[in-house]
């Protein structure tokens, strides 16, 4: 890329002429250091995890027991917990999140009321994670406890609903995570819905479409890349969320498939154990961190691929 010569046209002096170059270097520095820091983090985690990598190999991923006192480390229960809580959170948050986004992108409310609701929803993202955790302890834990008792008594023969029911459980963490990722889904979906050109909306109306036909048949498909991006970001956030999950999930290292059983995630494992870990446990935790990073990266790569695919399908509209 060449610098834009016309920018400095008319201005004398080498400083003015060099200014575009100077800005370019600053921006380049920013970009390069972001890549560098990412590499550094990866390298550091990898180095620290090395002893555990050499000791346990890939068996670490499939091992169902995490027993520091016997130096037995398997991360499977936490892997399952991480994916399960994130999936529960998305399943719970996606339908209302998208519904709110559609509601706020249409003129159902006067503009000021719409802006107010949007602000409130986005404010959900500003609440610190630890506050969500506290709220979860006081509100969601007792709720899930009583719901779980009722459900497990009746449907306990299903593996996903087997008892005994605990308040601090997989479902509790999933419910609170759903609230935490809702604003992400809503804000990004809304932005992409609003960005759908007015001409497309008018095109649908001009062909005799009703509002809902236009939304579902034309507007939503056009905004699909943004909605996909919102979902991926939400998934990434749900998988990496630490504090609230550590406060609510019960932090059990036992592998269980029940929604009402205490569980653990990779992030909550790290938060709970790293402070008192030593020796091989540190290496094992770093290995778990590596798995978490790999997992979130995989989600982001997959998301990027989906995003590109949907974008290709809607390219050229804007």
């Amino acid at each position: 890329m060449t610098t834009d010569k016309t920018n400095s046209g008319g201005i004398e002096g080498s400083v003015a002429r060099r200014l575009p170059d100077f800005f370019r270097w600053i921006t380049a520095l920013g970009a390069v250091s972001a890549v560098f820091v990412l590499g550094w983090i990866f390298w550091e985690v990898f180095e620290e995890a090395k002893p555990a990598l050499e000791e346990y190999g890939l068996g670490f991923l499939t091992g169902a027991h995490w027993q520091p006192n016997r130096d037995r480390y398997g991360v499977l229960p936490f892997l399952v917990g991480t994916v399960a809580t994130a999936v529960i959170a998305l399943l719970l948050a996606f339908p209302p999140g998208l519904a709110i986004a559609i509601f706020l992108s249409e003129d159902f409310l006067p503009r000021t009321a719409r802006e107010f609701v949007r602000f409130v929803v986005e404010l959900l993202a500003a609440i610190p994670s630890v506050v969500y955790g506290l709220w979860g302890i006081f509100v969601v834990v007792p709720l899930i406890q009583s719901l779980g008792t009722w459900v497990t008594e009746r449907f306990g023969h299903l593996p996903f609903l087997s008892g005994p029911a605990y308040g601090n459980s997989l479902l509790t963490a999933g419910v609170v995570l759903a609230l935490m990722v809702l604003p992400t889904i809503t804000a990004i979906s809304r932005a992409s819905l609003v960005a759908v050109p007015r001409t497309l909306r008018e095109g649908a109306y001009a062909l005799g479409a009703t509002r809902w036909e236009a939304i579902l048949g034309v507007i939503l498909p056009t905004a699909a890349p943004g909605v996909v991006a919102a979902t991926i970001l939400a998934l990434g956030r749900a998988m990496g969320e630490t504090m609230a999950v550590a406060m609510l999930i019960g932090n059990s290292s036992r592998l269980s498939w029940s929604l009402f059983a205490p569980s653990g995630t990779l992030a909550s494992l790290l938060a709970n154990q790293f402070g008192e870990a030593e020796g091989m446990q540190v290496a094992a935790l770093m290995y778990a961190a590596l798995v978490l990073v790999a997992l979130t990266l995989a989600v982001n790569f997959a998301g990027e691929a989906v995003l590109r695919y949907t974008e290709r399908r809607t390219a050229g509209i804007r």
Binding site: D107, P197, T199, L200, R201, E202, G203, A204, Y205, A206, L207, G208, A209, T210, E213, G217, V218, P221, T222, A224, R313, T314, A315, G316, I317
Partner: protein, 275 residues
């Protein structure tokens, strides 16, 4: 304002024209004493005109003169904007557009529209064309196929896309996209086709194709076209209305408007003295 209408022969009351008249003589759209407001801003003043069936009627005039506003009233598209209102009436085949028994959805199926910038949906070429039929609930594959071919042929696009009907419409060229939008607009056989500067984003070759298409389409449809291009108006329209500052200054056959306009302002505009 009265002076806008005095130059017009007082149009016959809609629906009273004797039956059996030649196509092209009978008005399909009649505008009477029409005023239109965006909030406090009056965009149209006392407009009255008759649009004959199966002819091309062009609206010309400088930007902001109200020609697009009037066009977008014919399918009630302006009602998507907050705070608009009108007085007077517009009738389609003798029936008011605001007749409570006539739903706006039904109206828009009778009055199709092609926009200034082509607006294909993020769907295949085929699904774009049959969109209006799909939302009517038509499922029969054979009927959809037939409608798609007929409409694409009607829009002179069939030969170019027949082998890739199920590819994305967004891979077409600008001119092809605009013809696709025409095909989509005629798929459910409307009575009237509104065109809002349909060639303003096209190159000269694509423009020529669309203009040729317009003269083909008028055999079946009544066309109302808004254009900034006066050559275009002379090339493809039968009637021309000149709008200025929200008033219909002059309305008549295109030949008359462009060769011997009765209004000084019309002459000034078409000879390029302002606008």
């Amino acid at each position: 304002m009265p002076d806008a209408t005095t130059t017009l022969p007082r149009p016959a009351q809609a629906g009273t024209s004797p039956p059996g008249e030649m196509p092209g003589e009978r008005p399909i759209i009649s505008v009477r004493d029409f005023n239109f407001f965006y909030g406090k801003n009056q965009a149209l003043h006392e407009v009255a005109l008759d649009i004959p069936e199966r002819q091309v009627t062009a609206f010309i005039g400088p930007s902001g003169c109200g020609k697009t506003t009037l066009l977008r009233n014919f399918n009630r598209m302006n009602e998507l904007i907050d705070g608009v209102r009108h007085t007077g009436d517009i009738t389609l085949a003798g029936r008011s557009l605001w007749d409570p028994a006539l739903e706006v959805i039904a109206l828009r199926r009778l009055v199709g529209m092609v926009f200034q910038r082509s607006n294909p949906f993020a769907k295949s070429i085929y699904e774009n064309v049959v969109y209006s039929l799909r939302i009517c609930g038509l499922r029969d594959r054979a009927l959809l196929d037939e409608a798609a071919e007929r409409s694409l042929r009607g829009a002179a696009l069939w030969d170019e896309v027949k082998d890739r009907l199920h590819e994305s419409a967004l891979g077409l060229s600008g001119g092809q996209m605009q013809r696709l939008c025409i095909a989509r607009a005629i798929a459910n056989r409307p009575k009237v086709l509104l065109m809002d500067e349909p060639c303003s984003a096209l190159d000269p070759i694509a423009t020529a194709r669309v203009e040729q298409l317009i003269s083909e389409l008028k055999k079946e449809f009544t066309i109302v076209i808004v254009t900034h291009n006066m050559q275009q108006a002379t090339r493809c329209s039968d009637q021309t209305g000149f709008f200025y500052l929200g008033k219909l200054v002059e309305f008549g056959t295109t030949a008359k408007i462009f060769t011997s306009p009765s209004e000084k302002r019309t002459e000034d505009y078409i000879t390029g003295r302002f606008g």
